[in-house]
């Protein structure tokens, strides 16, 4: 719920680029959460499960405080929903349920104990939003134009959202022709001034059929051999996931990718669809020219 709470906060903040905020959320959200978010933002909200007064009574009862103390809290927050959200202690071991899971619990609410149990799964900062969904007072909406703008951003580069694993399309430049149990090691590159510059090495953990076909392709197209490594034409596009980037002036590319992980061999992709070094979200020194080491 943390990401959706954050999205709703951004959508409610004047001056936010709403399409970009929505795109950022959709990019990182699991499919069920993304679908749930879009439905809520389109106005398909769950029916009211409890009134605000019922929630207040439940929270005040659970906190076991008199009316005057509740009033003092309300005077501080100036927001009954937030007061209710903060009165219950946070979960000892937060499990961070997603939006879809939270909505499923919400739909199943029949007793006050169900509401209390739902509260116990959420951080206080997420409960305010959950309470608005419970009381039928969730009013945040996205219009059709904002949604289509978000989708247009989504189809662009997914590189800059740190909320999910960063992903890029790379060019295969070197490969082992036979893999051990861990899969053949591949050298992956990004374009820079018309030539592929290596940025990562990773084991090709791929579905069996793809692995078999890729190894066959490598053997058939090998241009030069360096021990177990074959240099291959820069025509195959590999989708790569990675955890971060640090500048590295010792590398030709100028960067080190942290924890690179091969996602998929994009067999139908044109090599021009692979990314460029300049696509990487790195405000650091430019990559070194290719004729230096």
């Amino acid at each position: 719920m943390r990401h959706f709470t954050d999205l709703v906060h951004r959508l409610s903040t004047p001056g936010t680029d709403r399409a970009a905020a929505l795109a950022g959320y959709l990019r990182q959200a699991p499919a069920a959460d993304a679908a749930a978010a879009l439905a809520l933002l389109a106005g398909q909200t769950p029916k009211r499960r409890a009134t605000p007064a019922r929630l207040r009574a439940l929270a005040q009862g659970a906190a076991n405080i008199p009316d005057a103390l509740f009033a003092a809290c309300l005077a501080q927050t100036r927001d009954a929903a937030e007061t209710i959200a903060l009165l219950i202690p946070p979960p000892l071991q937060p499990t961070h349920p997603g939006l879809a899971d939270t909505l499923a619990r919400l739909h199943a609410i029949t007793t006050p104990a169900d509401i209390a149990a739902l509260w116990d799964t959420l951080l206080p900062s997420e409960r305010g939003l959950a309470n608005r969904l419970i009381t039928g007072m969730f009013r945040t909406r996205i219009d059709a134009e904002t949604l289509s703008r978000a989708r247009l951003i989504l189809s662009g580069s997914p590189l800059a959202d740190p909320a999910r694993g960063l992903q890029i399309r790379t060019i295969l430049t070197y490969a082992e022709a036979a893999g051990g149990p861990a899969g053949p090691e591949l050298t992956l590159a990004l374009w820079h001034e018309g030539v592929p510059v290596p940025v990562a090495r990773a084991r090709a953990v791929l579905p069996q059929a793809d692995l078999r076909d890729l190894l066959a392709w490598v053997r058939a197209h090998s241009q030069e051999r360096f021990g177990p490594l074959h240099r291959v034409p820069a025509t195959q596009v590999i989708a790569l996931d990675y955890g971060g980037i640090t500048p590295n002036s010792r590398r030709k590319s100028g960067v080190t990718l942290i924890n690179p992980r091969i996602l998929q061999w994009l067999r139908d992709a044109d090599p021009a669809e692979a990314h460029h070094i300049s696509d990487l979200p790195l405000a650091g020194p430019a990559p070194l020219p290719l004729d230096e080491t």
């Binding site: 906190a63 405080i65 008199p66 005057a68 103390l69 003092a72 809290c73 501080q76 927050t77 100036r78 927001d79 937030e82 007061t83 903060l86 009165l87 202690p89 946070p90 937060p94 951080l123 206080p124 900062s125 305010g128 800059a160 740190p162 909320a163 960063l166 955890g243 971060g244 980037i245 640090t246 500048p247 942290i258 979200p281 790195l282 405000a283 650091g284 020194p285």
Partner: protein, 320 residues
């Protein structure tokens, strides 16, 4: 009350039998000081008494003062009373002050928190008849999460910024919070400090507090020399443009007040981390002292006093 051990005067809390004040806010001849934050340790007193752990920072802030110290737990007789200092867990060297006359014991909490942060001397309740407690967060809407969870959230934010080539800046007061953050965070990258923070940190390192290596920001420190860095700086430095050469950067603030949505508005990243006790902490502490009389100061004094009355305590507001 006839001749109480501690009374409240225009200069602040005063012990008539001992002839001293505690954390007074006007110059007095003799002052016992709980800790070195500026609303507690002020200039102009004739003579200061504090813990040996607290004095170096207090001297740094106040300059040359006439001062003596006591280790935690060691009693000293002053006039007709016995005083001693006990850990409060608020900042390195911070203390509660116990004042006993005959068999009657009063404890002044100073600022305190009940979670052990791994750096400061951890709070422990001190048995007494009368307990003067701060209540900065004395409302039931304040429940802290374990420090490790908040530090993990800060670390995730720092790592995300580093991956994007942005510097991370945490605004934190130079004494206490800054050191708790640098000691509690995993090392995602280098930690840079504003000179005001590094000055205090150096003093505490010299006293043996386990603080990690940090780099003092000087004119030759840049995002290129230290990529992926976290900078810890006082909030005032950020509004002055001091950090401009570290752009692009993302700013965050770590304080108990970040629990409230209204306080988070307009800030970059907000983390709920406090060096004061939360509602459960205050309530447990009050009970654990065994005190029957509780005086509330520094915070939601009225509501906390009213609550304590419903819980059967002889409760009052101190500053009145």
């Amino acid at each position: 009350m006839h001749d109480p051990v501690l009374t409240f005067t225009p200069a602040g809390l005063y012990c008539p039998a001992g002839g001293f004040h505690i954390d007074p806010h006007r110059p007095v001849p003799r002052a016992l000081i709980t800790h070195g934050h500026s609303d507690h340790a002020r200039r102009g007193h004739g003579h200061y008494l504090c813990t040996d752990r607290a004095l170096p920072v207090i001297r740094h802030r106040l300059g040359a003062i006439s001062a003596e110290t006591l280790p935690f737990g060691t009693p000293q007789t002053i006039g007709g009373v016995t005083v001693s200092f006990h850990p409060a867990g608020h900042a390195p060297g911070s203390a509660q002050i116990r004042v006993a006359r005959g068999g009657e014991v009063w404890v002044v909490s100073g600022d305190y928190k009940t979670e052990d942060d791994g750096l400061t001397e951890a709070f422990a309740p001190v048995a007494c008849h009368s307990f003067i407690t701060e209540c900065t967060f004395g409302l039931p809407i304040f429940h802290w999460r374990p420090q490790a969870q908040i530090m993990a959230e800060i670390a995730d934010w720092w790592a995300a910024n580093a991956a994007l080539g942005r510097t991370t800046i945490l605004a934190a007061y130079a004494f206490g919070k800054a050191q708790r953050l640098m000691a509690g965070l995993p090392r995602i990258g280098p930690i840079l400090t504003h000179p005001a923070v590094e000055d205090i940190t150096d003093i505490l390192r010299g006293q043996g507090y386990p603080l990690p290596p940090t780099v003092r920001v000087t004119s030759d420190i840049t995002p290129r020399t230290h990529p992926g860095a976290l900078i810890i700086a006082p909030p005032s430095a950020l509004s002055s443009g001091w950090a401009d050469r570290f752009l692009p950067y993302d700013t965050g603030f770590a304080s108990g007040w970040m629990a409230l949505a209204a306080r988070r508005r307009g800030l970059g990243a907000a983390f709920t981390l406090s060096d004061h006790a939360d509602w459960p902490g205050l309530n447990h502490s009050v009970r654990d002292t065994g005190a029957t009389r509780v005086l509330a100061t520094h915070g939601y004094t009225g509501p906390f006093r009213d609550w304590l009355l419903t819980q059967g305590f002889d409760a009052a507001v101190l500053d009145a």
